[in-house]
């Protein structure tokens, strides 16, 4: 089957809503004191409560509530003064109690929003609700010769399920929303955002309808997608499937589908008829959660400057263009790096931004590193930019110095001294070199004087080569122009 990348379907409108599970970065689980650290050997981080032993009881981790409220405030949502945990009943071997503690009728966060930007235009995506719940364990089907292993380390890990309105109209918008949310949860410190470890994953509800039609089409839910790339691919694939099915006279059935990233296709998991009746009811082991105005005020005071606000400030305070401001607020660490760099280097903000969005981010991407893992700290980079600013080195030499700094812990100054890269601004030295080059290349001098301006670059190149690139380019140009007249 052919899948177009851009998805231009003139007759069809795509409708997407996302349910995102963000694992909250608490130290202990949502209803027990067991640790939440990833990667421990199986079942070593599961206590009696996580195992669902007879007689044990859940006790709510207040930190999880704090984080949920923090999120709610960041998306300008309503925070429920009174929310209730409910039991979601189903049998599965990695669900120890036979029910998951979640929130159903009264979630802690309701009715917020997030603005996304796609192809230069801005759009508001509604967030219906966000609720707290516990994660299940993991079933391990390999390595057990026809049996299934159960690892309950993850059981009881706190999750915030963030449910959007069906407001997105393309896979691109869905990815933009997901990225923005991914940035936000890390920005406010409630989730590490690690998608490989499953800390941030997504279910997509996808449907299509003829353009102009009000009513939604029948939707399919694609489960457990754990990368931005796969979200885009899975949605595009699903949209194609639905349109082809309808256009060939078929009917969409409401169902849950699974995205297979290897085959790049979605396949049916279960239909609505086969869906579980979860028999939600309020969990009698837990009291309703009440959030007071004081608590909210306290959390609000702890909230950092949020990405959108900071982006606007970058626009105004540093006169950054939208593209650079976007890139530099893609994470809180990047934004912090940028502001430290400006402050420490006393260089023009634009120059700092260009160095970051150019050389630094390229190098980080190549090495697959986060800004927080950058071998060059903002302080060291500031040292380099200062030397460009005070003409000690040229921009071109600076790239060499940057390279040296990337692979060592030396400062820019140390590398400049050690490799003798200091720019030559002594006009006498430059003049001497230029005189010699003019004398050695009479043919080119003639051509230039005959009006062939292009030859000028040849002279610049010769001078730079002779001076190992260390000559101040401005001076070289000036002197060459005078001498060639």
């Amino acid at each position: 089957m052919e899948t177009s990348q851009e998805h231009e379907h003139p007759q069809w409108e795509v409708v997407i809503g996302l349910e995102i599970h963000a694992q909250l970065a608490t130290k202990s689980k949502i209803f027990s004191g067991a640790a939440t650290a990833y990667g421990a050997s199986p079942n070593t981080q599961a206590c009696a409560v996580d195992l669902g032993l007879p007689g044990v009881l859940p006790v709510l981790n207040e930190e999880a509530v704090r984080m949920a409220v923090k999120f709610g405030m960041a998306i300008e949502a309503e925070i429920a003064p009174y929310s209730v945990f409910a039991r979601k009943n189903y049998f599965y071997p990695d669900l120890p109690k036979g029910y998951q503690i979640s929130q159903f009728e009264l979630p802690i966060v309701g009715n917020g929003h997030m603005d996304i930007n796609v192809d230069g235009s801005s759009k508001r995506v509604g967030i219906t609700r966000a609720h707290l719940e516990e994660d299940a364990g993991k079933s391990l089907h390999e390595d057990f010769h026809g049996l299934t292993g159960i690892d309950l380390n993850r059981a009881g890990t706190p999750l915030l399920e963030i449910v959007s309105e069906p407001d997105m109209r393309s896979a691109k918008e869905a990815v933009a929303y997901m990225r923005k949310l991914h940035n936000l949860v890390r920005w406010i410190g409630i989730c590490d955002g690690n998608m490989q470890e499953g800390s941030f994953r997504c279910d997509a509800n996808v449907s299509v309808r003829p353009r102009g039609q009000q009513a939604f089409g029948t939707r399919a839910e694609i489960k457990n997608i754990n990368s931005f790339k796969f979200v885009e691919k899975a949605i595009n694939h699903e949209v194609d499937r639905q349109i082809q099915l309808i256009e060939s006279g078929g009917k969409i059935v409401q169902e849950t589908r699974l995205y297979d990233s290897v085959k790049d296709e979605t396949r049916s998991m279960r239909s609505k008829e086969e869906a579980n009746d979860y028999r939600y009811f309020p969990d009698p082991d837990l009291l309703p959660v009440s959030v007071s105005d004081e608590f909210k005020a306290h959390i609000k005071a702890l909230l950092p400057e949020l990405p959108d606000t900071r982006k606007l400030r970058f626009n105004e305070q540093y006169q950054l263009d939208t593209e650079n401001a976007d890139i530099l607020t893609a994470s809180r660490s990047l934004a912090d790096y940028f502001e430290t760099l400006v402050k420490e280097s006393s260089c023009e903000a634009k120059m700092c931004a260009n160095w970051m969005t150019g050389d630094l981010i390229a190098a980080l991407n190549k090495a697959n590193l986060e800004i927080t893992e950058s071998p060059i700290t903002s302080q060291r980079l500031a040292g380099l930019l200062q030397r460009i600013n005070d003409n000690t080195i040229s921009g071109k030499i600076a790239k060499q110095v940057f390279e040296g700094m990337w692979h060592s812990t030396a400062t820019a100054d140390e590398i400049i001294t050690e490799k003798g890269l200091k720019q030559i601004t002594d006009t006498g030295a430059i003049e001497a070199v230029i005189d010699q080059i003019i004398a050695d290349n009479s043919k080119q001098v003639e051509q230039y004087r005959d009006g062939n301006e292009k030859v000028f670059a040849f002279f610049v190149g010769q001078v730079m080569k002779a001076m190992q690139g260390k000559a101040n380019p401005g001076e070289v140009n000036k002197i060459l122009k005078t001498k060639l007249k």
Partner: protein, 483 residues
Amino acid sequence: MHNKSINQLAKSLRAGEFSSVELTQSFLARIKQHQALNCFITVTENVALENAQRADAKIANGDTGLLTGIPIAQKDIFCTQGIKTTCGSKMLDNFIAPYDATIVTQLNEAGAVMLGKLNMDEFAMGSSNETSFYGAVKNPWQTDSVPGGSSGGSAAAVAARLSVCATGTDTGGSIRQPAAHCGITGLKPTYGRVSRYGMIAYASSLDQGGPMARSAEDAAILLQAMAGFDNKDSTSVDRPVPDYQAGLANSIEGLKIGLPKEFFGEGLSASVGAIIEKAVEEYRKMGAVIKEISMPNLKLAIPAYYVIAPAECSANLSRFDGVRFGYRCETPKDLTDLYTRSRGEGFGKEVKRRILMGTYALSAGYYDAYYIKAQKIRRLISEDFKKALADVDVIMGPVTPSTAFGIGEKIGNPIEMYLSDIYTIAINLAGLPAMSIPAGFAEGKPVGLQVIGNYFTEDRLLNIAHQYQQATDWHQQIPKGFE
């Protein structure tokens, strides 16, 4: 020595009349002698003797704890570290908890000696102790009668002097009804007064552990050790625990007693009714003021309870799936087979009946009609009590409509069995504290008087019961053959 009160035993132990080891051995011998009652699922002889030795050493060192060295027994619903906890079910016949229930820890710390784990209706679902996987318990007053349930083993063991006192749990009457049938004193505390941590859940919003003893005085001492806030139970209440013995001797002159006419209508046996009236008369003599009251929603308690309790139990018992602990069927052929056969073979009839009722009540399309409606009724019943208790200090009435019925008599008729809790269930729905006090005999079997108080008035209830026990000797009667 097995007829002495806790206070008397504490004195004797310190006076050196006998040691805790001797006392414990004497009870262990009685347990063996009266095995036919089937009170115990597990007798922890070695643990008991170790506990007793430690208690004797503590007493020799000047320890003054009233429960130090006193033999008690635990209902087998409370998890005990390293000792089998079955909850009366085949499902947990092999289950050894890796931890102690909070009340087990508290009683251990108080120095009590644990004789063993007591028989009970399976998962506390039953009113006769006949649903136990370990067989019915016999009522020491008449061994072809039931002891009541679900804490039937606890009640029979205390009545037969196989233990000084015992723990019980009460979801719809499971402390009070067997206490009444066996002629002992039982107290169901206010919901939240005693920690539920480590108590295997039947219906979480109704379950409450409490003391079962031979007198209000003993019950006060036992409750003292069990009550209190537990940060492992979110529904336990952080509120100071009063000294339950301190007020026992207070006068009850002027006490206002309400008698709901709904407790004395059709269904109450004439002989039980007469005894309750006599008991109330006794209170009048002590200076109490009697007032007839009406609580119109009480009649809805049984239907509401049999929606809410099964609904909660249907989820609470989902963890018994044969995967991590408990019974697992032989050679399951796939996951569904593992689930259905483990649960099908591991659970008894009554448990399955309640799981099915609860699953049905919570199902899509039925939830509002059953679960939500039952919750509304629950609020109405609470309101009835609130109104009544604004006007009177306590409410009195029978615990059960009749005396203990015969073993096998009602087990085939669940509805009739459910009706034996008709006077106790509403109290659990409201979360109030209530007691059962021995008040006389009908047809040679004990009858219990129920006293219901306002939230957290356990001290007052114990005082009221104690005063009655100063004026009467019903609680001192010993069943024949168990003297």
